[in-house]
Subunit: 349 residues, 4 copies
């Protein structure tokens, strides 16, 4: 690795962007050439994020495609949905590699995107180029790719928790219920009454019930894996904490399987993957056990009484659910070990 | 009401006991004659609970059945499971009215109790006398009763959220999944590593998956209401907050029902009840909206795509889930308005 | 008390306003005639505060002085600083009694107000009429008053903690340092980045160091009590919690006084007051011990090594620091027992 | 660096021990040879700390001095006060290098230790060998040392915040008041009622006022720096958060100094140090800005009105206040760059 990969981060003043900086700053093969924010260009990034003072305090640039094309190899777009639809095509056309953290290129069907996101979709020509970067499932597609669409936080926790059981025929994919819970950072850095500290502290809320834009993403991937259309019931809740997602998933068993059957299937499925950890029988992961790390931890509870299994999957929504997986995708894209620059232990307690 | 009802509270140093004191202290028809703790008798209750300093700082008594029989009319037993089995029969035999907040008299079948609670059950002769005090459902049984078994916190939130839909035939009771979340006070006041602040803060955990002792209580009542055996999948989680329970419940629709159908059925079902509030379409209750109050708030999300409804029910676990409902039961037992001494607004924020 | 006192609450959609509703709703001598919000008139208050659903869901009115003058006896103005300066004079001129919860009438010197608040002050003619409502200190002035300026949250905790020691000559008032900490609700209901949940959670911040507008209020009262000008060093911090203020205060001892001397002096000073509680030697109050109540709890630590005392005073900032004390002032103004409608126990845990 | 330094960690199941593992696991020059816990030897460390599953799940060893002397170069003793007094001398006598994280070797005067810690002190012969490892102040002493006593968390935040001002003559060291606040992890991993989640959540508490064992440590160092005996008033509080310490410090100015004077003096004093960051005028650090990192951030507020300065210093109590500084000391001891293995950005949000 004689030459470092030069990257720009667009959307550096959001939580996804600043988490990219946390990891990429120490990534041995990457150089952060430019941190970009359309809204606050010209000021030091450390002004809005004092924790970066004296470490990363370069000035925020505005978006300048020509300049990026000259100076960097790859752009991370940690931009809101509706912004990436327009920005990413320009970056691609300028010959830049792109890893997009928005939801704008995850759904292959533009009409589906419009129905759930309430924005106009990107053009099909770009949607078609996007490689869906759920690393443990579609990692081989990432190798050598030049445009990766990074998965959503809820889909990451959910899909990693469901796919091995579906592929192994342990569960019936036609009756899956997903009860998901997220820390508040998932809502981004924009202040609003719902996330105002006194409103959110000591509170537990459901939101967007049956309406969350991650539903079609989950269904698209599950359908691909199951080989037939899959619909799911999916509920999202906010937990009074900053980071972490737990997906609690319910599915009917297709046979008299035990906890150990699930454990064995999942351990084998994720055998060569660094970031998925399977809990032993009777032990379920808690969100704090993956805090600030790229791990996804999964546990099981088979219930003979009801013929169902409960699968519990946790991630840090900003890491494995956003910036961490984006870097994992970069590693896979470039042919580096997937752990490069990501091998930090969870912060505990 | 010329003469006040004299009550003793056994287990005054737990969260259920101290919450009974908070409400009963201002109850117009009640006099707290004795606060009892077997472990710390002799010291002022305000020593362990400084928030009571100068308000309720009477000395804690030990358990003395004869004395209670002479001095009080009714005993609240906020004692741990396994203690009430032995204590309550003595109180009943001594002619005292009892409202028991433990789980020891909720299950009518002693064998079922033993299977889930891992303690020996109470004798059938006492189990048979217990009136199950889910106020909004079995309130008429409470009138004039002398021994009430107060429901569990999870069952209260869950059953109030499910029963009207089952009775009205809106949902199929054979395939119910309940994803429940509780604040940490539900675990009681006993310190342990799991509930140590640095372990529980910024953390979300599942526990006792498929094993929680409230499962048979929920199933017993649902079976009674449905007229046939009902089994449910039930998962419990801990939220990093002190108070509050949310039950998120999933069931298949039995027809093409709308949110409004649910709203109408529930509003009618709870028409004359003070403490159940039904949210309008597209609005779901949050736990903070019932904090420190006796309310149970319920909202709905019908999903045509999957043919299921999601029902969301919240309570304060220490109030409607314990002390508040116990006092509501006292009111019903004595023929007082059910709101007496309970008509406090939720504390917000 | 045959006729209830009819009140209007202006600013009903802030935390102070909604807390007034929580207490006044159950106040035996008060009727809430009108809840007023200039910004959201016409909609039900329960729309913005769902915890009030079915209890207090009257429509919010706009400000109409003539209508108020006809319909109510007294107005609580829980309006922001800079709004009350203009609104309160109109209410007074219309013959209404007023209890103002803003800071606009606390400082007797308009120039001082302008220097710290950065707004134009109210006219002197109105400033002169305002009775400063620190109930335990100036309660006698409230009796029969028609316009009360309710103290700030920090000044309430601080002044109740300092005045008895100054009056008794235990401490040197010329070298007082106050280190104050507040829950986030003190910042009001307006969302902003500083109070965005992910920014404030698991965080402890200092703010407005030496610049807080409560400094001149504290100094004005201490100067009045000491009989000579007093200046203090005063620092404010935000604690990741919703409610509660602690003032930790440092002062040089004027003699070889002990903890017990302080306890004795304070117990005597507050002998007939319901809401101040003095802790015994070696015990200091925590904010949770007054949560949601009108109490102010105070403890002491004399340090012979350094010749200083540390005085610790806690209140709930929205109750004793705002709405609760406002109602206490109403009670004193009307000649009712000061505990009327305020005798709720702290909510614990 | 051909050969790695082999280390053992005694007390691996406490928060200090597990944080040592988090950093040392990635330290380029260190190999963790043994993780030791006297209480739970024989089981995998990941059993008690599931976040380590699959990363560090070696078995916990018991204490075996002979084995350690053979296998490792250096021992970190993250053991409770009173344990290190006996253990560390044995390690030293066995020829091992030691970095002790307890308080047992910080005070040079055994009698002082006994007075504050209520344990028998270590023998003078060992106390005399201990190098006090406040890296930015006494770093030169660490070079080549074989036994370092790692500073306390409160002293670290406090001393780094005070010393440059004292050395430069900006403040009068005879009248310093320190108001300190800590996250709950500072109390260790032992569960007890005080730290039980429902008791500590939404609560702010003072504790050990004027009695904290870190007082003599602070005074010893300040006396050394000032060249004459210094006493301080020092109060400790618990904040409802897991990590972080803020010391808010008050001292009289010795002249008409400005904020900028302080900023200049501190920037110069810490010019070549990696982990101390000075905030600009009018900006004060918050604890979250150093979360999970080894930074100490400091800000100032000079108050002309009172002739005092308020100095605000924050650290992560488990990192710069314990494990991080211990590794910084290791680096200094071994002649490595002080940032080695510690150059992680704070985790934000």
């Amino acid at each position: 690795m004689t030459q470092k990969c030069k990257v720009a981060i667009v959307g550096s003043t959001g939580y996804g962007g600043v988490e990219l900086i946390r990891f990429l700053y120490l990534h041995p093969h990457v150089e952060i050439t430019s941190v970009i924010s359309s809204s606050t260009s010209g000021v030091s990034i450390a002004e809005g994020f004092p924790h970066l003072t004296g470490i990363v305090d370069q000035k925020l640039d505005g978006i300048d495609i020509v300049k990026m094309a000259e100076e960097v190899d790859l752009v991370f777009t940690a931009t809101p949905s509706g912004v990436s639809t327009k920005l990413v095509p320009q970056l691609i056309d300028a010959g830049l590699k792109v890893i997009d953290l928005s939801g704008d290129f995850r759904l292959t069907d533009g009409a589906e995107y419009e129905a759930w996101y309430k924005h106009s979709p990107a053009e099909d020509i770009y949607l078609d180029q996007a490689v869906y970067g759920l690393s443990e499932i579609y990692g081989e597609n990432a190798a050598g790719a030049s445009f990766i669409s990074n998965p959503g936080c809820y889909p990451t926790a959910t899909l990693l928790g469901l796919i091995p059981a579906i592929k192994a025929g342990l569960i019936d994919h036609r009756s899956i219920i997903i009860d998901a819970k997220s820390g508040v950072s998932g809502a981004g850095r924009g202040a609003s009454l719902s996330f105002h500290y006194p409103e959110m502290n000591e509170n537990f809320k459901a939101y967007k019930v049956n309406k969350h834009q991650h539903i079609p993403e989950i269904e698209q991937v599950l359908s691909d894996q199951a080989g037939e259309p899959v619909t799911v019931t999916f509920t999202t809740h906010l937990v009074p904490m900053t980071r972490g997602i737990m997906s609690t998933m319910y599915a009917p068993l297709k046979g008299e399987y035990t906890d150990q059957d699930f454990i064995d299937v999942y351990k084998q499925y994720y055998e060569n993957r660094s970031f998925v950890r399977i809990r032993e029988k009777g032990i379920w992961p808690a969100t704090k056990e993956v805090f600030a790390s790229n791990y996804c931890d999964i546990g099981f509870a088979v219930d003979k009484r009801t013929g169902r299994v409960t699968i519990i999957s946790v991630i840090d929504n900003i890491v494995k659910g956003a910036a961490g997986q984006a870097i994992q995708n970069l590693n896979l894209m470039m042919g580096w070990d997937e752990q490069t620059g990501l091998n930090f232990l969870p912060v505990y307690p």
